[in-house]
Symmetry: C2
Subunit: 285 residues, 2 copies
């Protein structure tokens, strides 16, 4: 039986030109390589080399054999990579969401329900979420609506509502009881945390003339919220997970876009193994 080590040896010889150099590269002795090639010739029942007393080189058969050997070694490499990738996919649950909140709860929940699984989650825009679910990049995605696809399972869950947060001295703070429309804030400079996904598009849509001071570091963001007069935003969910700043006033927003209902979605074929996760999701209200 021809073995892959022999094909590697052959390829190495072709690459280095002499047995001694190839042997050194392969970290084996020169005689070992010499014998390996003799055995390969024996097994293929074909001479692969032209031999002189202290010279050896590939003949036509050998050159042809090297080409095949390279292709074969590559396809073995491919096999390893693909099988490993498949395995990695099979032992990770990847959740993609249009907004951050679902990841806060889902991470711990998935870890508990599927011990040993690697859980990953990320914020992504909606088209990429749908594409990623289809391609296997995500097993679960969270959208603000039901995509109504017969291949997909969709479960509506809890809602998230956006609030404006202000220092008590801010002119709009008096609207805390009545609520206000985001458009009233258009043109103001506001503080935003960077990875808020879908919320960002709401802000841009309803406050097209505002300047957004986007903070990538949460500590810096919190510091600025505490020490400046700048308006910022929180949601019922962010308050639940990170608490409310006591020295800030929460102003409800009256635009319907500022409330979204989370729709958790997976492939129908994947639902059986994810059933436990879907069943513990918060209900419709």
């Amino acid at each position: 039986m021809v073995e892959l080590t022999q094909l590697q040896h052959l390829a190495a010889f072709q690459k280095h030109g002499t047995l001694s150099q190839a042997a050194e590269a392969l970290h084996i002795s020169q005689p070992a390589l010499s014998r390996s090639m003799q055995k390969l010739e024996e097994e293929l029942q074909v001479p692969l080399f032209e031999r002189q007393k202290n010279k050896i080189r590939l003949n036509h058969n050998g050159q042809l054999a090297v080409e095949h050997a390279r292709r074969i070694l590559e396809s073995v490499q491919d096999m390893a990579e693909q099988v490993q990738a498949a395995d990695r996919r099979s032992r990770t649950i990847s959740l993609g969401s249009c907004v951050p909140a679902p990841t806060w709860a889902a991470g711990p929940a998935l870890s508990n329900l599927y011990p040993g699984m690697t859980i990953s989650s990320e914020i992504q825009d909606i088209p990429k979420l749908l594409e990623g679910l289809r391609s296997g990049l995500y097993q679960i995605i969270v959208l603000p609506y039901d995509p109504e696809d017969s291949e997909l399972y969709c479960q509506a869950a809890n809602r998230e509502t956006l609030y404006l947060t202000l220092p008590p001295s801010h002119p709009f703070a008096k609207k805390a009881d009545t609520g206000m429309y985001l458009e009233e804030l258009d043109g103001e400079t506001v503080l935003l945390y960077s990875t808020i996904g879908f919320w960002h598009s709401i802000h841009v849509k309803l406050m097209p003339h505002s300047r957004f001071l986007i903070q990538h570091d949460r500590a810096t963001f919190t510091e600025l919220v505490n020490t400046t007069m700048l308006p910022s935003f929180m949601t019922n969910e962010s308050i639940r997970y990170f608490g409310k700043k006591n020295d800030r006033v929460l102003v409800p927003l009256l635009n319907p876009e500022t409330t979204i209902r989370f729709h958790y979605i997976c492939k129908k074929s994947d639902y059986p193994r994810l059933k436990a996760f879907f069943e513990q999701l918060p209900g419709k209200e």
Copy 2:
């Protein structure tokens, strides 16, 4: 390093369903196969099986791996076959001729000039000879003309001339001195030996109404020539190699088509190694 035996083992397991049956088919012990698969998993760093206490079956990774393994094993098989075929080609000289005569001389000549080489020769029609020369099926072909191809080397050699052979009592026997045209024989039933290649098309062309009694067995053919009144044919070359029947009259033929000049042709790239053969060919006259 993953080895091909392991891939074979994996494929065998998939084919037979259990380790024991696969091991039996592979002519190894069951524990050996068990270990072989464990090692494969180790090397791919991926579980390939779902194991229960006394049951084992491929998981998703394993099924994917089997598909790859099958392809790889096939390509190794391909490699062996192709390299062996290349080797065989490199150690055979195959001569194709449009008529039999060149093969009578060329066989022995090539054997002498290229000891150790396998010599094969066959009669074939002209389009297939040209195609075969191009594809490597033939290294030398013999045509009745120069194909005038810049890729090919062509050397004109000796001529072969067709004669009518008759029993002395045959009406046409008196034409032995003057010669005759083949057309005069048209309509007569004549004896032909089967593998005469290009000559056959000459007969068909010039004697479209004749019936040809084609003999595939040379002994039968000779017997019929000796015991019947039927006209038949010989050439200067067939007489040289097989002798002339004493009790037959040779009538020269006056059609120009009944003499052809052999053109020995090879690829220019092949000429160097075939030089010795071409140099010993009979000259232009």
